[in-house]
């Protein structure tokens, strides 16, 4: 009986000791203790965004002067022209416009992605601020591309609230272009509706 009581008291003392001496690490602050930072693609891309948009704008060449077979992983382009079509797919989640550039005699079909879902990694692939080596693995590098595309939606496209009535208007679009056959897809970093 006596031994039992002593054991219980000892157990309680031990629990109190452990509870008092153990440090509770709050969620999200683990990195301060382990030194392993949790990757946050969104934060990383939003602090990079202005520089990347500026770099692509500075390097952009008039699309009508370029050979689309050189577009490869992506090319910085500027397109001035008239919107010839507005297309909406996937219940309004995949919107695009087709642009007929001014004084253009080529046969390329040029579409600009307007989100809210964007395909491809063209913006990430032509910027030079970050490289794959800056990331831990392929998945983070891939998340970075997606996060940049989300930046495009919130910073560039969404505020313009583009609807079907854009058809026939004159626009200036700067962005990253890729080509597949005769089809050029542009992910915009700046859109001006004239």
């Amino acid at each position: 009986m006596k031994a039992k009581i002593i054991a219980v008291i000892a157990a309680i003392a031990l629990i109190v000791f452990v509870a008092k001496s153990a440090k509770v690490i709050e969620k999200g602050t683990e990195a301060q203790y382990t030194g392993v930072a949790v990757f946050d693609a969104k934060a990383s891309s939003s602090s990079d965004w202005d520089k990347i948009a500026a770099e692509i704008s500075a390097n952009a060449a008039d699309i009508t002067t370029l050979d689309i077979s050189t577009f490869g992983a992506g090319k910085a382009v500027i397109i001035k022209g008239t919107v010839s079509a507005y297309d909406s797919k996937a219940n309004g989640r995949r919107n695009t416009i087709t642009i007929a550039p001014d004084n253009y005699t080529g046969s390329a079909n040029i579409t600009v992605q307007l989100g809210s879902i964007y395909t491809g990694t063209a913006v990430r692939d032509i910027q030079t601020l970050k490289t794959f080596g800056d990331f831990t693995n392929q998945t983070e590098w891939s998340q970075y591309a997606k996060a940049l595309n989300s930046q495009i939606d919130s910073a560039v496209v969404s505020p313009l609230a583009i609807k079907e009535d854009i058809k026939g208007k004159h626009v200036t679009v700067t962005g990253a272009a890729t080509a597949s056959g005769n089809n050029v897809t542009v992910t915009p970093v700046a859109i001006v509706i004239d």
Binding site: A73, K89, A90, N91, R93, R94, I117, T119, G120, T121, T131, F132, G133, N137, Q138, T139, W141, S142, Q143, A145, K146, G181
Partner: protein, 310 residues
């Protein structure tokens, strides 16, 4: 006299052999089992490139066994190899073997699969699985018209690529709210499992209209099961870029695949080994990604033996 002649010929032969072997040196090319043509391509292309650059290639398979791989690395060390090209047998399990080679001053160039340690190998050159999975998933959501119930066949769950591919399929598909995944099972990269799991899924969920698969071997099993069940409406994708998948794509029984340019990756690794052996030139970065090419019926004719020709 005759004896002296024989001896001198023998000596000359040994000298000639030594000269030819040391002209540029031996390169070991160690891969998983060549019963998978993907790894066969690594040995074929790697050996051809090494020969072309004046080396003596020696090709071996570790059959995804880390102990066998370690023995092969030790053999390379005692053989005095000048470089090792390796598609490794496990991201953690291979570190020891690579470290042994590095300690023996033999540079290691890893292809296809990464290891969980930087600063040991001179290069880790891999296909951009994340980009490839996302690229072919984009083609698949279009083919599915952005909606529908579907199943997923995962690869070997202990393999990093299994999750990289799955996560990146979902990074595209999950953006669309009208998709619903009704089954997700591992078929362990295997064609026969891909076939049997698909048969079972079609029984349990006849309403599905798509199957996404972590590699082409499973996708081919799934495609064959769908053909045999008369379900040619089901949209299937894989990843690798094998000739078997190409044949299903050409017949319209698969939507597409993402080609891992393994022939190109292997060539790059041998070129970098050559540069390092010659004058110690290292690539700009240890970890290097080679983009995948999305293959659909529109461009499948340009694909053969893991080589895409524009």
């Amino acid at each position: 006299m005759k004896r002296l002649l024989t001896v001198s010929i023998a000596v000359l032969m040994v000298m000639a052999l030594a000269v030819s072997a040391s002209a540029a040196g031996i390169i070991y090319i160690i891969t998983p089992s060549t019963s998978n043509p993907f790894f066969g391509t690594e040995q074929r292309v790697g050996a051809a490139k090494a020969k072309a650059l004046g080396y003596e290639p020696k090709c071996f398979s570790h059959d995804d066994d880390a102990a066998t791989q370690l023995q092969l690395f030790e053999a390379a060390i005692s053989d005095g190899a000048v470089a090792i090209i390796c598609d490794n047998a496990g991201a953690d399990a291979s570190i020891e073997a690579v470290r042994k080679a590095v300690e023996a001053k033999i540079p290691v160039f890893l292809i296809d699969r990464e290891i969980n340690e930087s600063g040991l190998a001179i290069a880790q050159i891999v296909a951009d699985n994340a980009q490839g999975a996302a690229a072919i998933a984009e083609k698949w959501v279009e083919a599915m018209d952005y909606k529908g119930k579907y199943a997923e066949l995962l690869g070997l769950e202990s393999d990093t690529n299994c999750w990289v591919r799955s996560q990146n399929y979902h990074s595209v598909i999950d953006e669309y709210p009208d998709f619903e995944m009704v089954a997700q099972q591992s078929a362990n990269w295997s064609q026969t499992e891909g076939y049997s799991k698909t048969e079972a899924i079609l029984q349990a969920h006849p309403e599905i209209t798509g199957i996404i698969c972590g590699n082409d071997t499973m996708a081919c099993g799934a495609a064959q099961a769908c053909v045999d069940a008369g379900r040619t409406d089901i949209k299937i994708i894989g990843l690798d870029g094998s000739d078997d998948a190409a044949s299903y794509i050409a017949k319209g029984q698969m939507v597409g695949t993402a080609l891992q340019q393994i022939a190109r990756i292997t060539e790059i690794s041998v070129e970098q080994a050559d540069a390092y052996v010659k004058d110690g030139t290292k690539p700009a970065s240890e970890k290097q990604l080679v983009p995948c090419v999305a293959i659909t019926k529109d461009n499948v004719a340009k694909l053969s033996q893991f080589v895409y020709t524009e």
